[in-house]
Symmetry: C2
Subunit: 302 residues, 2 copies
């Protein structure tokens, strides 16, 4: 009794995850392993192995295809990973062609923020939202716009980077080439960089210190919360999405971030219906990218 399934792959700088999904969107099985510094040759073999292992643990699978969410930059049209910054040595790596040859099924590659947003659209917080905007705040800040279940792309299939919107001309310099972008002010690394008097603390420890009343930590988190709010306000002004899904480390500090945002959004705005945008935490957690990968395949198969 054959069972049609799709594979979702989430390829990050540290871990690669593989999930097997049935047509109902159930995650039948999930496997993960470290991929840090193994390089593309061993890395691709590792991914193939993980896919085979995952399929083996499912009864009578008929593989429909493989959808990959990967940390960018990517060339999603030609199926190339061009990200030696996060994945050492992965420059012009034709992952789509390789997996297509090995497994003889359709393979899709998308930016990890887009994959996670697709997952939340399919089975998570943004289910069936006509316009879904997703923001992930972690080491960096990733964004994605899903319109009617499809990824919004820029010219030549490029992935927009709302995380690099400029919100403070006096902010710090960023690798994006500009000063005061959102990521440079609210990412995990931005928050820990601001703790000059606490040089060994990461964003999580600073958040914990703020909760216990440390004044310097409170000031840092309040500033980050204000800057977080400015970027969210801009996203609403530009897109007025039905649903805005938040994920990543920021949601672990949501008690410190969200009250400031809620207050900012209550400011009466005669131009844009801020109150009609649902701001929701992501519900699929670490698995959002896997769901999105499978959806890339299943939405085409329909």
């Amino acid at each position: 009794m054959s069972q049609p399934v799709a594979i979702g792959v989430d390829l990050g700088g540290t871990l690669v995850r593989v999930g097997v999904f049935n047509l109902d969107g159930q995650l039948l099985c999930q496997n993960e392993t470290s991929i840090a510094s193994v390089g593309p040759v061993n890395g691709l073999s590792l991914i193939e192995h993980l896919i085979r292992e995952s399929l083996d643990s499912v009864n009578f699978p008929t593989l429909l295809g493989i959808g990959i969410g990967c940390t960018g930059p990517l060339d999603t049209i030609r199926g190339l990973i061009n990200n030696p910054y996060t994945l050492e040595g992965w420059n012009n790596i034709p992952i789509v062609e390789r997996l297509n040859t090995t497994f003889n099924v359709p393979v899709r590659l998308e930016n990890d923020a887009d994959a996670a947003a697709l997952g939340e659209y399919w089975q998570g917080a943004g289910r069936d939202a006509k316009r879904l905007y997703a923001v992930t705040v972690g080491t960096g800040v990733g964004t994605s716009l899903i319109i009617d279940g499809k990824i919004y792309r820029g010219v030549d299939g490029s992935h927009p980077e709302g995380g690099h919107q400029l919100i403070d001309p006096n902010g710090p310099e960023c690798y994006c080439g500009h000063r005061g972008c959102w990521e440079s002010l609210i990412s995990g690394s931005a928050i820990s960089n601001q703790a000059k008097s606490m040089p060994t603390m990461d964003a999580r420890s600073i958040a914990d210190a703020a909760r216990t009343g440390d004044p310097a930590a409170i000031a840092i988190m309040q500033k980050a919360a204000r800057n977080f709010s400015l970027g969210i306000i801009n996203i609403i002004s530009f897109f007025v999405p039905d649903v805005l899904v938040l994920s990543g480390g920021v949601m672990k500090s949501s008690d410190l971030f969200l009250p400031t945002l809620e207050k900012a959004l209550k400011t009466p705005n005669p131009m844009v219906p801020f109150d009609r945008v649902h701001i929701l935490p992501a519900t699929l957690g670490y698995y959002a990218g896997l769901y999105g990968g499978a959806y890339m395949i299943l939405s085409e198969a329909k």
Copy 2:
């Protein structure tokens, strides 16, 4: 020999314009009149009169429909003008129903920024661009996103307001409820407000003074140009449009604005392909809204 035509109407705070277009996108005839402070009752009669007059000057017209671009806020779905701010007394005015009853043809109503962008998409600088983003800087700052010839709308048909993106937390307060939005820093009124030592000067005179070497005027225009660039950079980061069309007063000062923008866009950005976005001046000038109005009808009739 009957000739199928569409009417475009551009309804602003000062003037109403009416244009008659054939299927090839030719403007066959155009009429305009003042509508300032006449109120909605006389205003609607005036518009009907202008439409009849315009049709009378065309040979054997068969009217296919009427598309209106109007200064917002509007309820485009129910066809209502809700803009007592710019059009005194025009609150909940059912212009679509009224013209539909009078002329017995389909009538569409859209925000004026969207109408102008549709016009530029159809017959202007953004012809056939897959993703067209339009920015009009005048008394205020209007924006519009056209994807595959269709207006991008927010939740409940709302019109996004990229002109109110926040770019400077130390900027001036705006009626949008926030501080340092783009409009509050670069609009015509923002520029003249900054000339405290030259209280009687409008934005145009300040631009002229900057050109003749007045240091205070140069400083104001340089600051406005920098802020203009920040907002454009954000639009590119968020949308990566194929074409970005600029119109309004800012283009009259393009010699003062564009060099700063060009320099900012040359900053290498590893994330977003800034160099692939075509930034172009609008080509339809005051008539963009008329073209867009006609296109609302003709694109449906196809």
